[in-house]
Symmetry: C2
């Protein structure tokens, strides 16, 4: 029998990662997000911070140009994609879990019993949350949201050919701003 895997895609600042962690804790299953990146880093020899950034870039523009091709892949982003793909597949074979981001919904569509979740919220809610969680930077929260979401959408589209945030791609989408983080956790748990 395939393992049950809850995949969470999310807009930046919507609390998707917080929701994923809470769901996993309450269900007593692991939650993968940065942990995956760190494992990839350990395997690939790439610098961890670089991988964290590259994991959200589609393979065009300065990042892919800035590095030489590696192991026959056309870009470092492609190489990282392949590594993530393998790692996520192995994790899903091993155990039921929550995976936040990394296109896990697409990667696992035929390989696990997935619950595909998308978390979003309006700009005001996300801006406030970003300030509370990540603190202030030179860029405004609105600029940071725009930049992050643009990267995630482009990355998702490039590798999956699916539209990010389109209801039809998910089992459930939740507005954490209007429903609240706790209610989102409660609903997702019900569907495990």
């Amino acid at each position: 029998m395939k393992n049950r895997v809850i995949t969470i895609s999310r807009e930046f600042g919507s609390g998707g990662r917080t929701i994923g962690k809470a769901v996993a804790t309450e269900l007593g299953i692991p939650c993968y997000d940065n942990d995956i990146l760190q494992e990839i880093a350990a395997e690939s020899g790439f610098d961890k911070d670089y991988i964290k950034e590259a994991g959200e870039y589609a393979p065009s523009g300065f990042l892919s140009a800035a590095f030489h091709s590696h192991n026959g892949y056309t870009s470092n982003s492609d190489y990282l994609w392949k590594l993530q793909y393998q790692l996520i597949t192995e994790i899903a074979k091993k155990e039921s879990c929550v995976i936040v981001g990394r296109c896990a919904d697409y990667i696992l569509q035929d390989q696990a019993d997935c619950l595909k979740v998308f978390i979003h919220a309006d700009l005001q809610f996300r801006s406030q949350r970003i300030l509370n969680v990540y603190g202030e930077t030179d860029e405004s929260p609105q600029q940071r949201i725009k930049e992050k979401d643009k990267r995630r959408a482009a990355y998702h589209r490039f590798y999956t050919d699916m539209k990010w945030g389109h209801a039809q791609n998910y089992d459930i989408t939740l507005n954490s701003g209007t429903l609240g983080i706790d209610k989102c956790v409660e609903i997702i748990k019900m569907l495990y």
Copy 2:
């Protein structure tokens, strides 16, 4: 205090109307769908069946050309839109309820405490459901789905300028095919 109104947009054959009715019954509140059309029909003097059809057409093409302008509105569709708008506004002022379709999510956005829901499912699930619920016709279920969804999307977009089925427009979207009708009812009830 504003009334709580659950608005349900849905793909044809996804069970959105069935879900709306079940939610309303279990919560002990009214559910409006065809009833609204009938009230409009009674007020406007239009033929009921015509209204049912026109309510899902954007005001271009043969329908608006087929009738003369009425009461100063540019098309009969616009006239019907205005009537629906008034009626839905009055209902939401009067009581908490479920409203299926008719762009109620848009109409009531500032006038009620809305829970905006979108129900969808894949083609296979919807085709089977259409055959079970509505029976066979000369057109295949796939053709009927394509035609109906196209009309609903165009109507919604024309009058609301919002993209139908885009997660960000709703508090929650549910895939009735993967989650099941009963689970959708249970979740929506939780959010009332």
